[in-house]
Symmetry: C2
Subunit: 195 residues, 2 copies
Amino acid sequence: MPRSRTRNAPETRAAILEAARQRFASEGFDASLSSIVADAGITKGALFHYFENKQALYLEVWTNLQTDMARDTQKAALANRSPDDPYQAILAGCRRYLEWTTRPDFQRIVLIEGRGVLGMTEWMSNERDVGREVVRSAIGYLVQRGLIADDRASTLSVIVQGALHGAGLALARNIDGVTVDSICCALDSMLRQMK
Amino acid sequence: MPRSRTRNAPETRAAILEAARQRFASEGFDASLSSIVADAGITKGALFHYFENKQALYLEVWTNLQTDMARDTQKAALANRSPDDPYQAILAGCRRYLEWTTRPDFQRIVLIEGRGVLGMTEWMSNERDVGREVVRSAIGYLVQRGLIADDRASTLSVIVQGALHGAGLALARNIDGVTVDSICCALDSMLRQMK
DNA sequence: CGAGCTAACATACCAGTGGTATGTAAAAAC
DNA sequence: GTTTTTACATACCACTGGTATGTTAGCTCG
């Protein structure tokens, strides 16, 4: 009823995604679709016109956050390139990633719940894990420079990604003694000693 | 009705937990309480007599798995103590942990979904994270030996825990090039170079 | 231009869910 | 032997994700 008669598909879709992001960020996946469509100013009919089901909606919110983070992280890394220290760019990327972990929506949707919500079906199956791609490319860069053995790249990637993930969660929980600087310091020596 | 007239509270409780573990492992948190109570051979009345709500039930299943893993891991570590190499025990514990990550119920309930299900309320708040305690005590052991600086213990703990977590997930997803051995090898040099 | 098709929503409704209120019988307490 | 408590079962409810079915605006094309 309050909806204007002008049809504007992309705006509607964006409104749904935005409302969903906020609700998912504050209430988690349990946030009801009713509340989301109310926030977006539309009805469930519209929602199910654009998204197959609740998981699909969540997947898109999750993917958007993830890709935004990846882009920003890579941008930070490229901006801090140094000709005589190949680690500097990567460490700048790590620091930028840790900044993302302070965002409440990123914390809850990506760090905390995402894996469980999309679990098995989407997350497990394949390369939807954008974060992993970023880390892999960073490690690949070190391999290219001859700083890391080629056959260790995969293993070291998952370890570095896991370390970053754990560090981000620790920051989110603000565990004693864990700060952005202390983590970056630890990652610095950790990365430099990898071979 | 099929329930015998003899009251046996602990058995009933255990039956519920066992049924819940299996359902949660195969269907995730979405597994309906109806199916769980059917498996356990009781009714919802009994379930809600023992557990405040679905989350509380999940929390207990999750905690049990987590503590079993922690106990087993520490046992493995203590069994592999070596007087001239303090790292050996820890690495044995890591290997044992990675073995746990091959268990489907542990994968789904602890690695994938647990964080999201209990998120914020239980997991975030504090020391329900048994895994972290284990890692902290291992790092504490190295601090005691003078191998790691005291003020770095917290940060290194979350990094090591994250690395293990990520490695376990990678094994669960069987990502190319990642094996138990390759991870243990990487952890070996990583731990030994920490200071 | 106007008839028909389709995209973009709205409305009404449903099965199933977690959770609650209430009942009841056996054991334990006194 | 009465009362209280424990250990369940039964009946029920509000609400949820999802579906089936409208309805209307805009575009296509003769």
